[in-house]
Amino acid sequence: MDDHLMLRLVAEDDLPILERLTQNPDMTGEFAWFGWYKLTRFRQWWADNRLISDDIGVLMVVKGEDRLGFVTWHKVPSTPACYYWNIGIALLPEARGHGYGTQAQRLLARYLFAHTTVHRIEAATEVDNVAEQRALEKAGFTREGVLRGVGWRDGAHRDGVWYSMLRTDQPG
């Protein structure tokens, strides 16, 4: 399975998929529906830099010709002298529950550790999103704690679970 799942740059005809996965409540799933905002952001960023900059990036998750979803990362400065990456993932409904999230997040961590000097890669998810927590654990991430009321979704403050992978961790 690992042989076929890949991360690749976002092409122009992938943009409708990114938009469906963030702007259509039926596709985002319960935990990723935050309302509509900046509807044209993916198109603008794609026109600007193909969704890759020094501070933020988006890659498609694909298996052969099949598009499964996308992964993202952005820079979190912890002091003026250093930073780490926070990563995220969104999979199409039919791509969920097959272990693709685990593989995609492992590939993204490998990519970021290879091409940047960061020591820490972080991922967070809502406390009830058990599937993502299982995916992160299988990908080798370590659970660090629950940040209370850190997010807002569907009319309520939500608790977030924090995970990380360090460069010095054993590969998962």
Partner: protein, 175 residues
């Protein structure tokens, strides 16, 4: 409930003649203390920030901690945005002589009260290095809840350091 020790400790705006004090607390290793000495950087940031907006903006702020005429240290906060919401992250620095008297606890409590009064934030976060036991004790006495340890978050004195995260929610019981 306010303890008797709360009497007198106050937060106030930074005046121009406080700037050398802020600079000593961040740019002199002997004054900063082990956990706050991160090397020299942007030496004029307090002066530039003060000239610009007196160190108060919509996204961040700095206030002096004072006991009468005496300067004890400063507190700071900045906005941590997780769309569509946000929370505040706060920090503190005390003069060496002002440490160990409970002033940090009072200052944290006063800043939390200020931020909950004047902004809609639900969560105020504070973090400190895993080895900084004094700050963890101050946060706990101020009513903050320990949430976890984020590994290898920042670099200080030649090594990656773990960070303990605390929070106070608007809905927490006041202490």
């Amino acid at each position: 409930m306010m303890s008797a020790m709360d009497d007198g400790v106050a937060l106030r705006l930074v005046a121009e003649d406080d700037l050398p004090f802020l600079e000593r607390l961040t740019q002199d290793p002997d004054v900063a203390g082990e956990f706050a000495w991160l090397g020299w950087r942007d030496l004029s940031r307090f002066r530039a920030g003060w000239a610009d907006n007196k160190l108060i903006s919509d996204d961040s702020g700095v206030l002096m901690i004072a006991l009468g005429q005496e300067r004890l240290g400063y507190v700071s906060w900045h906005k941590f945005v997780i769309p569509p919401s946000y929370c505040w992250t706060m920090g503190i620095a005390l003069e060496p002589q002002a440490r160990g008297h409970g002033y940090g606890t009072q200052a944290h409590r006063l800043l939390a009260r200020y931020l909950f009064a004047h902004t809609t934030a639900h969560r105020i976060e504070a973090d400190t290095e895993a080895g900084n036991v004094a700050e963890q004790r101050a946060l706990e006495k101020a009513g903050f809840t320990k949430e976890g340890v984020l590994r290898g978050v920042f670099w200080r004195d030649g090594a990656w350091r773990d960070d303990v995260v605390y929070s106070l929610l608007r809905t927490d019981q006041p202490v």
